[in-house]
Structure formats: C-alpha cells, structure tokens
C-alpha cells in the first residue's frame, strides 16, 4: 500500500493540472460552433484567426514586444548578475533586496506603480511603456538564472585572465560571457515567455495605439466562450511550452 498510494496521488494531481489544457487543445480542432459537443475535426478556427487582420496585428505586436523586452532584460540582467557576482560595492544588499521585492510583490502592485510613473512623466501609453514595464518584471528572473550559473564556476579563470594582463572588459568578453552563454539563452527564453503571457501589468500600462494578444484574449473571454480563443490559446500554450523546453534543455545540456 505504501508504494502505490503516493504514486496514484501524484498521477491524479498531474491529470488535474493538465486536463483543462488537453481539453482546450482538443476543442480547438472542434468543428462545432457551440463548443461543447464534438462536431468533427476542423482547422476552421485557426483559419478564421489568421484571416482576422486585427488579430494578426496583435500577434505581431506581442511577438515584437516579447522579443525586445527579452533582449533588453537579458542584457541588463546579465550585467547586473556579473556586477553582483564580481564586485563589492556599497548598496549591494539594497540592490539584491530591490530585485527580490520586484519578484515577490503582487503583479498588480507593480502595475499601478508603473502606471503612476508613466502618467507623471507624461509618457504616452503604448509600446514604450509596455517595454519598460516588461523589462522590469523580467529582470529578476534573468539575474537569478545568470547568478546560478556564475556561482558554480571556477573563480581562478578570471583571475588568470587578469594576471595575464586582460582588462576587466576584455576578461568579461573572453572568459565570463562564454561561460554564462547558456544562462543568457535560458534567461532570454524565460523573459520572452513571461512577456508574451503577461496580462496583469499590460492591462494597466498599454494604450489603444498598441494592442497585444493577451489583452485581446482578455476582452474576448470576458464575454463568453469563443471557439477562436481555443485556437489562439492552443497556439500560445504550445509556443510557451516549446520555449520553456528549449531553455531547460540548454541549461541541462550545458551542465554536463
């Protein structure tokens, strides 16, 4: 009894976690309009999705936003992790603490504080405000990923480079960056998915000039069940899963 009980329990919880996702995927290929009974296999919801111009535009907007937010947050996050790892400086604890607070505080708190800032400085809500917000909430995740990689790394390598006369910049470029490359890629992929999936922060800091996918879905699902949402949701879920599997694969492979 002691062997099968925990196993059954684990299996059951996993089934519950994945059942709604499976249902969504299956129903996205459902020909029936009502969305509850099975009406045969069909691509029609995917077709109607791609024939909807506003939808396709929102898709491109979302991809572009995620791409730029992931890139900038990886850049800043990697530099932050390097600084935290290599340098002693005043306020290091405060810096760490601030990143921790960003990661822990409820998204809605971050969202309203950024909205207040953007309105105060008179920034028009749109691509730029979304980008600044997304980079901010992706940042701690990149820092953590890169720090984890740096902590398992031989300290004598950068010392050796320095002894051989390399400047800080040269040493970073030729020794540290190759070492943290897998973490950079993983961090970038995580940032990309975080940005692509965000609803809470985007609700507050986006404007009519730049419509993104999650918000479009949000306005669609509030009214009721729509078969197009099944197709769109399936695409988004699959996309995030592929990104995540890739990032984890890169990290595990680099450890070996």
């Amino acid at each position: 009894m002691t062997r099968w009980l925990p196993r059954t329990y684990l299996t059951l919880v996993y089934l519950l976690l994945y059942a709604p996702i499976a249902v969504l995927v299956v129903f996205s290929f459902n020909d029936s309009r009502t969305g509850y009974e099975w009406g045969g296999l069909s691509w029609r919801w995917y077709e109607s999705l791609f024939n909807n111009r506003a939808m396709v535009e929102a898709m491109w907007n979302s991809l572009w936003l995620a791409l730029s937010a992931a890139t900038i947050s990886t850049l800043i996050g990697a530099l932050t992790a390097l600084a935290l790892h290599r340098y002693r400086f005043r306020g290091k604890k405060a810096l760490n603490g601030m990143l921790f607070v960003v990661m822990m505080s409820p998204e809605i708190v971050l969202a309203i504080s950024l909205l207040a800032l953007f309105l105060l400085v008179g920034l028009q809500l749109g691509y730029v405000s979304l980008l600044l917000a997304h980079v901010t909430f992706c940042l701690p995740f990149v820092v953590i990923t890169v720090m984890a990689r740096l902590s398992g790394f031989d300290e004598r390598l950068p010392e050796a480079a320095r002894d051989l006369g390399a400047s800080d910049f040269t040493m970073t470029r030729t020794v540290l960056i190759p070492v943290i490359m897998p973490a950079l890629l993983a961090g970038w992929l995580l940032g990309f998915t975080l940005s692509l999936d965000d609803v809470v922060v985007s609700t507050f800091v986006s404007g009519p000039s730049y419509e993104i996918l999650p918000l479009r879905i949000y306005s669609m699902v509030r009214v009721g069940l729509k078969p197009e949402v099944n197709a769109l949701g399936t695409l988004l879920l699959m996309f995030s899963m592929v990104m995540l599997i890739m990032s984890q694969w890169i990290l595990t492979r680099s450890k070996q």
């Binding site: 925990p6 196993r7 329990y9 684990l10 919880v13 996993y14 976690l17 994945y18 059942a19 709604p20 996702i21 249902v23 969504l24 129903f27 969305g35 509850y36 800043i76 530099l79 932050t80 600084a83 340098y87 400086f89 810096l95 601030m98 990143l99 960003v102 822990m104 409820p106 998204e107 809605i108 708190v109 971050l110 309203i112 504080s113 909205l115 207040a116 800032l117 901010t136 400047s167 800080d168 910049f169 970073t172 998915t193 975080l194 999936d197 609803v199 809470v200 609700t203 507050f204 879905i217 949000y218 699902v221 069940l225 949402v229 099944n230 949701g233 988004l236 879920l237 899963m241 995540l244």
Partner: protein
Amino acid sequence: MRSALQQPFKTAVLVLVWGWLLFLVFTPNLLVVGASVMTRDPGSFISLPITLDAYRQLLNPLYLDVFLHSLYMASMTTLVCLVIGYPFAWALSKVPRQRQVLLIFLLIVPFWTNSLVRTYALKLMLATNGLLNNALMSLGLIEEPLKLLYSEGAVIIGLVYLLLPFMILPLYSVFEDLREDLLRASHDLGAGHFATFVHVIVPLTLPGVLAGVMLVLLPAMGLFFVPDILGGSRNLLVGNVIKNQFLDARNWPFGAAASIVLTLTMAFLMFAHRLSKRRIGEEGA
C-alpha cells in the same frame, strides 16, 4: 581599491542597473505611497491636501466586505493548496531522483504558460453544459447539470489551479532537506507515526509552509482576471477593486491605499517566514 575612472566598466554597469531600478521600481512605489495620502481629483487624478481619507474609506463597510470576502477566498485557496500540496510534495520527495527532475519540470510548465488561457480552459470544463457536467451526467452521478461557474467555488478552483505549483515547490524543497536520521531517531525514542509527524515533521517543514502561504495568499488577492472569467460580479478580489479604482472609477488615492495594504501584508508574511527559518536554524544547530 581602484578609482571609478580606472574601472569604467564597473561604473557603467552599476549606473545602468541602479538607474533602472531607481526610476522604474523605487520612484513608482514612492508615487503610490504618495498618491494614497492625497485627495482624489477627477481632472489630474490626485491633488492636495494631504489626507488619510483613502485609508478611512477602506474601513467603509461596503469595501470592508469586499476585502474580507477576498481575504476569505484567498485563505480558502491557500488552505486547499496546502492540503493538496503537502502530501504531494512529500510523495514527490520520495520518487527516485531521475524521475523527480522530470516531474518538477512538468509541474512548472503550466506556471510559464499563459494563466489567462488556462483560466479560460477551466471555464470550458466547468460550464453548465461543459465537459465536467456532461461526464458526471453520463456516468449517472447527477441528474441535472451543476451550476459551477460564477460562484465563489469557481473562483477558488481557478485560483488553486493557477497557484498550486507555488505551494508545492517550497514544500518540496523542505521535504528534500528533511533528514531521515531525525525521523529514525524519533521512532527509536518511541514516538509513533502521529507523534513524529506532529513533533518532528511539521516543525521542520514549517518554513516551507510559510513560504508557500506567502506565494499563494498574495497573488490570490490580486489576480483580477480569475473572478472576471469564472466568478461573476459578486466574487471580487482586492485586485479587482484596485483595477477598478485606477482604470474605471479614477479614485487613485483609494486604489493606492488598497495596494499598500496588500504590500504590507506581503511584508508581514515575509517577516514571519524569516523568523521561522531563523528559529529552525538555531534549533537544528
């Protein structure tokens, strides 16, 4: 120590990072604190004089009800997550190492996917003529479809579904650190399973429980789209109130005050978590 001029790289990095965090984290939070003690102004959002009206408004029975109801739903969510997650994390820590890696990966996959889409997927299942009701009816367990959607229960189910991994992961990490020899010692000293559980396992896993509570309780008060999709208009979260005040009602001081109450709750939970960890550190040494 070399001077800043000799370390241009270090200086540049620190200026960039500090600049970003001061401008986009520190200042915005100060603004929210500031806004919470100002007076509501329909034109420019906030204006002088400084007042505590927003905090007083939080105690208005109408809003106090919403807050207490939200706190109740969040607490129920946390409790359900704990009841499901505690044995789950325990069982997970007993699985052979290699399979553990895969199982944990499967647990965090949903966390990285779109939570809005997953909430919607849950709606597909819970709807009156949705999958769950159809299945129960064809099994003959119920005669008429249950009205699952647009209820308190639906909101709690939705929140549990989204937040369960946040409860399991910290619990799993404390179960991983649980030393077998302590359990054996407890048995050798004559304690039964129950006594060992109460006096050894529960105190040692308490930091994990508190971390999990922290990671579930707060988001469970903020995820406004869950009631929007599953709960109808009567089961609101604090997050819905904040969103409403900022985006629709334009009462910034009140929205800001509500968000500060959330932040203070977070600070309190973090403090409790630290305290419990330190206590165990001392006893374990």
